[in-house]
């Protein structure tokens, strides 16, 4: 009679029992990176494998998921599916996604490979290995999904080099560079916990639901398909934090500081998502405020952090500022992008009357008072034959690298300015959160490659806007105003040919 091992025991034999302690070389030299951060691990065997997925099952289910996804992509391309999007301007959100999110998937792919090599414990190493190749999947499925649109629309053609060069993409790039340049434990808290568990739902779920609502079947399919891997990654994040907290009490303050840092770093990054949800989707699913309340306040603050209290972990520092901003964040950021889209690989436009009605209904306390007047003035400038742009380069936050457009906590009309002098040089920050991050590790943030400063140093193609845009690889019609843009003109032309009755 065959003996049957439990899933847990079998999984353990298939994964973590493969490990052994080296004796021909110094084990410390095999894993050189896991001590300098001050995290103490007494027993790697205490790691609980949350997903007991063996390699053969992994291949089987992933192959099945990709079969379904690529069938959708092929069908969509063959049937000219892009013509049934809600509107061409919907694609601005996907342009930003390809330019700013896809490279992060790739970075995650590369750096989870680092964890898959360098953790001492075989359990987390295997989880990291799976995540590494999952993230490669996400990189490629995003490229392949958006490849169809790239053929017919602007702004998607040069995303890899733009990630390295373009001003607004230094926001996501510096975020991930910050995590990758940190030690292996901080990386895990930064990406697996703070980003994947705490914030990624805000990015993917409303956004992919938005794709579905706007006729973008391929993006919805890849998004949900990627999310099914993401739920494994979230589990890794949660398991990791519990494991580290349980290993040694001395880990608790270190982890708390990382949560504090990475919550704020991640929150500033998702500001780009906030404006996508409220301003870039022609058909709306839910507002930024609603998603924030549901996915962050209800699920994380009232769910997860109650659980972490047990270990002495408190909700992230500066979270009250994030909560206080939920009614203003998306408006401020989109207005900023509207002001600078002459130097972007996407277009922006004044929300139409119906869109403004929706914004008013969603944000009764702030839209009429603060943002309606801006759009009225922008519309008036446009009616007079102009287009409002910020005719200069903005001051950037030294940490998050977003133009310093955020306002003082509790005062949505005063721009927040924070300043530190470090080794004889002034540095500016958009918020208490970013300043606090700088103060912890100024040696790191002085190295920031700030696009505006680099342009002024002459490192970005030349001193004039056309030279910089050429260096950015931005082609005619990629950026600026949507109305009258190449995408808009094509869209109108394609749809002028309405169905006719035979």
């Amino acid at each position: 009679m065959a003996k049957k091992l439990s899933m847990k025991k079998r999984y353990s034999a298939l994964t973590r029992d493969l490990d052994w302690t080296p004796s021909y070389v110094d084990p410390e030299k095999v894993f050189p990176y896991t001590s300098f951060e001050g995290i103490k691990i007494h027993d790697w065997a205490k790691w609980e494998d949350p997903f007991r997925l063996t390699v053969d099952s992994y291949y089987k289910y992933q192959a099945e998921k990709d079969k379904r996804l690529y069938a959708v992509l092929d069908g969509f391309a063959q049937s000219q599916g892009h013509l049934s999007l809600s509107d061409a301007k919907y694609l601005n959100s996907m342009k930003l996604f390809l330019q700013g999110v896809t490279p992060l998937e790739y970075a995650a792919h590369r750096h989870f490979a680092f964890l898959a090599r360098h953790y001492n414990g075989p359990g987390p190493r295997f989880a990291a290995l799976c995540q590494s190749i999952d993230e490669l999947r996400h990189t490629q499925t995003e490229i392949h999904t958006l490849s169809t649109y790239n053929k017919y629309y602007g702004g998607m053609h040069s995303w890899p080099s733009q990630f390295d060069r373009v001003w607004y993409l230094s926001v996501p790039k510096s975020f991930f560079d910050d995590a990758m340049s940190a030690g292996p434990f901080e990386f895990l808290i930064a990406i697996s916990f703070s980003f994947e568990y705490l914030l990624t739902n805000l990015l993917f779920v409303p956004f992919m639901s938005g794709a579905s609502f706007n006729g973008d079947l391929p993006s919805m399919t890849f998004g949900f398909s990627a999310q099914s891997d993401e739920s494994r990654h979230m589990t890794l994040g949660l398991e990791a934090i519990k494991f580290l907290l349980e290993q040694d009490e001395a880990n608790v303050p270190i982890i708390q500081a990382w949560i504090d840092k990475w919550f704020w770093r991640g929150y500033r990054l998702v500001a780009l998502i906030a404006q996508m949800i409220d301003y870039m989707l022609p058909r709306k699913v839910m507002s930024w405020q609603e998603s924030f309340e549901l996915y962050f306040e209800e699920q994380m603050l009232n769910g997860l952090f109650k659980d972490l209290e047990f270990y002495g972990i408190k909700p992230p520092r500066h979270v009250e500022h994030a909560i206080a901003e939920k009614e203003i964040l998306s408006h401020q950021v989109y207005w900023g992008l509207y002001s600078f889209s002459f130097a972007a690989a996407f277009t922006t436009t004044v929300p139409d009357a119906e869109h403004q009605d929706w914004l008013r209904a969603q944000y009764p306390g702030t839209f009429d008072k603060h943002y309606q007047p801006l759009w009225d003035k922008a519309a008036k400038i446009q009616a007079d034959g102009g287009r409002f742009f910020f005719q200069g380069l903005p001051q950037l936050c030294q940490v998050c690298q977003i133009p310093m457009l955020f306002t003082e906590p509790g005062d949505s009309t005063t721009i927040c300015q924070r300043e530190r002098e470090y080794q004889g040089e002034r540095y500016h920050f958009c918020s208490d959160g970013c300043q606090w991050i700088f103060d912890r590790e100024p040696e790191k943030y002085v190295q920031a490659w700030l696009p505006v400063h680099q342009i002024f140093q002459g490192n970005c193609g030349g001193p004039s806007v056309p030279e910089v845009l050429a260096w950015y690889g931005i082609q005619d019609g990629d950026g600026g105003e949507y109305v009258g843009s190449a995408d808009h003109v094509d869209w109108e032309r394609w749809h002028a040919a309405a169905p006719v009755r035979s």
Partner: protein, 107 residues
């Protein structure tokens, strides 16, 4: 608090340090109370540039992004948080405007 790195020294120069701009420097200028201009602007200017030239050559064209702006309309200036009453002839350096100083005005 200092950074915790694997090596004893982890020391890299600022990528925005003044020497990278030769005789010039960066100056941030914020138009307070005008939400149309969402953030302060950053300019590169010679330290020897007279304030009047800085105003007319750099600030005015930028502030003119707002069609309601009239050149030279700025008042209530501050420099790095302190009240500031610049003479148009004095250079930025003479006025104490340093690398990455923040000037603010209202209009």
């Amino acid at each position: 608090m200092a950074v915790r790195a694997i090596t004893e020294t982890y020391d890299f120069p600022s990528r925005s340090r003044q020497e990278l701009y030769g005789d010039d420097q960066l100056v941030h200028v914020l138009w307070k109370g005008n939400p149309l201009l969402c953030a302060a602007a950053t300019f590169r200017a010679p330290r020897a540039m007279p304030f009047g030239e800085f105003l007319a050559g750099l600030i005015d064209p930028w502030a003119g992004s707002d069609p309601d702006y009239r050149p030279g309309a700025g008042r209530g200036w501050t420099l790095d948080g302190a009240a500031f009453d610049p003479s148009p002839e004095a250079s930025l350096a003479e006025l104490g405007v340093g690398h990455k100083s923040l000037l603010t005005f209202e209009a």
